[in-house]
């Protein structure tokens, strides 16, 4: 028998030996991240339309800064470069959406570089960070560029309107703090009334937070795909409602500031939120309550950023305190 004439049994196709299970869901981490980016897009685009070219420059600079920092860190630490997974874009985009529209674009780039390096990379990269990187970036900017970050608010001046010089103004929450509810509502005045103005985003505020409606649209897409659940956002709204119920401006509190952006897109970040349902409820209530307390009694008109960062520190503890319920009850005859 020649070598070529081996029995059929000895020449089978070499199949891949891989551990089970041999089938898996289609959805990958990268797909989830890109869905989040896509869900953020409508509100971000609307912010650029409402606030003009500088807002666009801020968004692009923040994303570019995040990508550059991610690439540089991966090269420096000899890690796999994972720019395609969408997580750096997400950090940059989220940071930009929390910024006042008139901040210089280069401060946004610095903020997102700080977010990636000190918010994520030094903890060990994606999955290991304790704090939401975008909010670390925002906190850094608030400390470093306090004037731009607190006076960078401008009135809506859509590209389609007659170009005028940017009118520096205050946000509804700041006005509420200094002058009272009627004045605050005036800022959001629109043909449909002040609350319609808040829903549409025709009011002073951060680039991506102004339109509650478009944030809800993006959040709806993530909810429909079950990328996020309502547990954390609803708990946050409950916490805000509980603490601001007697302030007389409950609706304004619920519809303004970065509450919706924070509740649906930042507090729901997988890495920096608890894994179990009960943990998520407590996490959300804490964020909501802290937001209300900071707004009413703290030093800043807006509180969601620091509320989330503070609650982030509790996540490891919440994961330990609220474990999944084990299926281990002793059997009982039915």
């Amino acid at each position: 028998m020649s070598a070529a004439e081996t029995p059929t049994a000895a020449a089978p196709h070499p199949y891949v030996i891989s551990p089970g299970p041999h089938v898996r869901v289609e959805e990958s981490t990268a797909q989830i991240m890109w869905w989040v980016n896509g869900a953020l897009a409508p509100a971000a685009i609307w912010g650029v339309i409402v606030f003009g070219p500088n807002a666009l420059a801020v968004v692009l600079a923040a994303i570019a800064g995040a990508l550059a920092a991610e690439w540089a860190v991966a090269r420096a630490l000899e890690r796999r470069v994972t720019l395609h997974d969408g997580s750096a874009v997400c950090t940059g985009l989220l940071l930009a959406m929390t910024l006042p529209p008139a901040v210089p674009w280069w401060t946004a780039a610095l903020g997102s570089i700080f977010a990636i390096v000190f918010g994520k990379a030094i903890f060990g990269g994606l999955g290991y960070n304790l704090f939401n990187p975008a909010l670390i970036g925002r906190a850094f900017m608030l400390a470093t560029f306090p004037v731009a970050m607190t006076a960078g608010w401008i009135a809506p001046q859509p590209w389609f309107a007659v170009p005028v010089d940017a009118i520096t103004t205050a946000t509804p929450l700041a006005v509420l703090r200094e002058q009272g509810l009627p004045q605050a509502l005036q800022l959001a005045a629109s043909p449909g009334g002040p609350y319609a103005g808040l829903a549409l985003g025709l009011r002073p505020g951060s680039i991506g937070e102004v339109s509650v409606l478009l944030i809800a649209l993006g959040a709806g897409a993530l909810l429909a795909r079950r990328i996020i659940t309502l547990t954390i956002p609803l708990s946050i709204f409950s916490g805000v409602a509980l603490t601001t119920a007697f302030s007389g401006a409950l609706t304004l509190h619920l519809l303004s500031g970065g509450l919706w952006l924070g509740a649906f897109f930042m507090a729901t970040d997988y890495v920096t939120s608890p894994v179990t349902r009960n943990g998520k409820i407590v996490f959300g209530l804490i964020i909501g309550a802290l937001t209300g307390i900071i707004r009413l009694y703290g030093g800043y008109p807006e509180g969601i950023c620091y509320a989330i960062l503070l609650a982030n520190t509790l996540v490891p503890a919440l994961n330990t305190w609220f474990r999944p319920r084990r299926t281990m009850l002793a059997g009982t005859p039915s």
Binding site: Y15, I17, T327
Partner: protein, 451 residues
């Protein structure tokens, strides 16, 4: 057709809904494999001691003849085709790499032994019934291959009131049990009744997933003219949800009882057997017919003609695949069993063994071939785990080299259904982390490092 309202039951937490792909073979009748040229019968096809050959090279054997005796904890092996013993030597084995194997070359010199009905089969005492089940070489045909007679011998002090017949077939792709239930409801019912009487159960429940509700009528008809000996009988329809067919989950779905971790189902008064095992038990007790062939689903995107096949044990997978039109060029993976808990095989020159209920030929990239990402704490594995364990934590601790600290996350309770790994968006091999942690914890507890 009149619409019927059926109550659908299910287990508690966790579980996943992978695409079932059962349409490939759900309507394919069971077809007999033509006699293969030779069969390889490994001496280990069960959990327990290897069987001991009682024939030698050159012997002529009839189909059904015992060719190896079972040891104290094992079961015997029988000739599955008529022919001559070619040799007894080490051969490749689907799970053991290699195993001493009896190779029979098929010839027409002999035929099948006659298996006549024993008129007294319903009145046998327990010892004789158990002996026939053992002598027939029957093992759990759902995949575990635990000797059936041993599962039916209850330890002292343990009583069982419910016998559960597992027809859930929750693994994607597989339809062998479904087709068997369509074809042989009577034999399955009789086999289950034999086992229920043996363990003293007063209630017999068949659990099927809702996509197999066309078998209900057959079972109801069979029960109408079968002496039930006062044992109550019911078919329960369960949600199509993996791992519905896992013993613990099926018991909860059917009886509401929860088997405590690391306990056997008998701890809550239940014994579970697969439907194919019940049919084999019926044949063994009534006809003294040994287990010499099995029904399997040959399916997946890599096979030319997906089929349900009845093949003699020991038939080579290459012959079975050839009977199903052959493997497509793009086949990359060959899975023995279902794609969730089955095992990847390297080659087709391997024998069909007792526990192999399917052969799934998959195409495309397999899991983990491109590595895996970090845990992003999405919590999906926690939602998928039917036991409420924490695969995310186990994986992170194992990666950090802190394997012995994983006990609080329930590592030792894991029965490796793979649901966590199925849902992980970072493609992390959570099940394998779990296995690493489990074996380390067991070794440590053997050494009394961890109490």
């Amino acid at each position: 057709m009149t619409p019927q309202l059926v109550e659908i039951t299910s287990f508690g937490r966790g579980g996943i809904h992978p695409p079932t792909h059962k349409e490939l073979t759900a309507r394919s009748p069971i077809e007999d494999l033509p006699w293969p040229g030779e069969v390889w019968l490994p001496l280990v096809q069960h959990l327990g001691e290897p069987a001991v050959p009682i024939v030698k090279k050159g012997d002529t054997v009839a189909r059904g003849q015992m060719i190896a005796e079972g040891g104290a904890t094992g079961v015997p092996i029988h000739a599955s085709v008529p022919g001559k013993i070619k040799f007894i030597d080490k051969r490749p084995h689907p799970t053991l790499v290699t195993c001493p194997t009896l190779v029979i070359r098929h010839t027409d010199e002999t035929d099948e032994l006659a298996f006549e009905e024993d008129p007294a089969w319903r009145a046998l005492d327990a010892a004789e019934t158990l002996a026939r089940i053992q002598q027939a070489g029957i093992v759990g045909l759902g995949g575990a291959a635990f000797p059936t007679h041993r599962k039916l011998m209850l330890p002292k002090g343990v009583t069982v009131d419910t016998f559960v017949l597992n027809g859930a077939e929750c693994e994607p792709y597989l339809t062998a049990d479904h087709r068997l239930m369509m074809l042989r409801p009577r034999e399955i019912l009789e086999g289950a009744l034999i086992m229920a009487r043996l363990v003293g159960a007063r209630r017999l429940l068949i659990g099927i997933e809702a996509d197999k509700s066309d078998v209900i009528a057959g079972f109801r008809d069979a029960a109408a003219d079968t002496p039930l000996d006062g044992i109550s009988f019911d078919v329960r329809v369960c949600e199509v949800r993996y791992p519905q067919g896992a013993e613990r989950q099926l018991i909860t779905a059917l009886t509401g009882r929860v088997v405590p971790p690391r306990s056997l189902p008998s701890a809550v008064g239940v014994i579970v057997q697969n439907v194919a095992t019940a049919q084999a038990v019926h044949d063994a007790v009534r006809f003294r017919r040994p287990l010499i062939d099995r029904i399997m689903t040959v399916t997946g995107p890599g096979i030319v003609t997906p089929r349900n096949v009845r093949a003699p044990l020991g038939a080579l997978l290459q012959d079975i695949v050839a009977f199903c039109g052959g493997a497509r060029e793009e086949t990359t993976r060959l899975i023995a069993g279902g794609p969730m808990m089955g095992r990847a095989l390297p080659r087709l020159d391997l024998p069909l063994i007792k526990g192999m209920n399917g052969l799934v030929l998959l195409t495309g990239r397999g899991p983990f071939e491109e590595g895996y990402g970090p845990c992003i704490q999405c919590g999906r594995c926690l939602d998928a785990c039917p036991l409420g364990l924490e695969p995310n934590q186990v994986s992170i601790f194992v990666e950090a080299g802190r394997t012995l600290e994983t006990d609080p996350f329930g590592t030792l309770d894991c029965y490796e259904c793979g649901s966590c790994t199925y849902v992980c968006p970072s493609e992390r091999p959570l099940l394998q982390f779990m296995q690493v942690a489990k074996s380390a914890l067991r070794r440590a507890s053997d050494l009394r490092i961890v109490k």
